[in-house]
């Protein structure tokens, strides 16, 4: 009984996940550079990013490029390249969306040559006395 339950639950999950995982696995999506370096933490990084993608032949629908929640381009071809300039103040993630579903993602990590240092704050919150 226990085995049967696990079997059916497992099968159900596999069937549900199959189309999505299939799509993700076959999509080629690459961005460069993957790192953006600044001198010190807190500085803005100016960079030009190259996007390359290739979808499987069976894939069809509206293809869009997103940065986090923001749409950058829509109506992309199944295969293509794109160069875009960015000012990054923090690490960010890019997504390819096909028919309102994310199918691939790549990120740019913001790094500083001098790593950020931290210390204890020495002031009480809302202190007047």
């Amino acid at each position: 009984m226990r085995f049967k339950t696990r079997f059916w639950v497992g099968l159900f999950l596999f069937v549900c996940y199959l189309p999505y995982s299939h799509g993700m696995a076959d999509v080629y999506f690459k961005i460069s550079p993957a790192l953006c370096q600044v001198e010190q933490s807190g500085q803005v990084c100016h960079t030009q990013v190259r996007f390359e993608w290739l979808l499987p032949a069976a894939a069809s629908g509206l293809l869009c490029l997103y940065q986090e929640q923001q749409q950058l381009h829509c109506g992309l071809e199944a295969q293509g390249e794109l160069m875009l300039k960015f000012k990054l103040s923090e690490s960010t993630q890019f997504y390819l969306w096909l028919e309102e579903q994310p199918i691939a993602s790549q990120g740019i990590e913001l790094v500083s040559k001098t790593p950020a240092r931290y210390r204890n704050r020495l002031h009480s919150d809302w202190s007047l006395f």
Partner: protein, 309 residues
Amino acid sequence: MNILNRFNPIFFCCLSILTLGELNAAEKVEVGQWNFSLSGGYGKLSNPLSQADDFTLYLVPSAYYYGENWYFDNGDLGYTVLQQTNYSVSIISQLNAEYAHFADWHPNNFFLSTAQSNLSFSEADSSPNSPPDANDDLQYWQKSPDEIESDETHKSVINWRDLSSRRLAIDVGIQGHWFISSQQSIRMRLMHDINSVYDGFHASLEYKHQWRFKKLMLSAHLGWLWKSRDLANYYYGVSDKDTKTQALWYQPGQLNLPYARLSAAYPLTEAWKMLAFYQYQKLDNTLTASPMIADDARTIRFIGLNYAF
């Protein structure tokens, strides 16, 4: 002579706006990074002076910066001479907080607006209670705190037009922190005025505990503030410099001022958070007996939204 017109309102900003720091969920701050935020909402900053209106808080800015050793945090300018994981020792300077009660300013000029903040005081003669004569008054300020408390209903009201001005004191001292854990810390301070305004000391001991429930951050402070007799006398004493009416002369003793503070913050986005704050400080009996003090406690309360730039 009205002392209020002679106080520069900007100093009140330094004291009350900048010392109202934001509720910071993270106790660690990044070195070399300025942090600015603005809180908008509604709150009150009580003023215990006789017949003075409370200050209404609408917008409360906050700014702090921590270097390797130097730091500025909402009114405190400090140099940390010893930094370890569990404790630190700093030399700090700040504007004396007592001055804030004596400063006058217009609501349109500053971020923190007031509800009729101009302090107006009744004439001593208009008090329903007859002021004691000179001998009675001398005995009055020499009474024990319990006796003073029982006599408070018969307290005279000061005539502010006869008062001399109070000056802004710049305090410098030493501050020690013991970071017991990520949730608990103890802070100690001993301060002295360097511009010889009151020629005294004040010290404080504060325990802080923080809790986090998912995204909600709660913080509680319990503290004890001690102020020397010289400080108390300078700001809250009444002498022949203030009025020729001996019946109103008063000299408070040293002050013991326990306080408690509760604050809560709930982040809505990376930049926005809701916050609420309440602080209660019990005033010493020797202070409440002063003719210029009307309340037995002072409070700060605020609720609103905070935006971090």
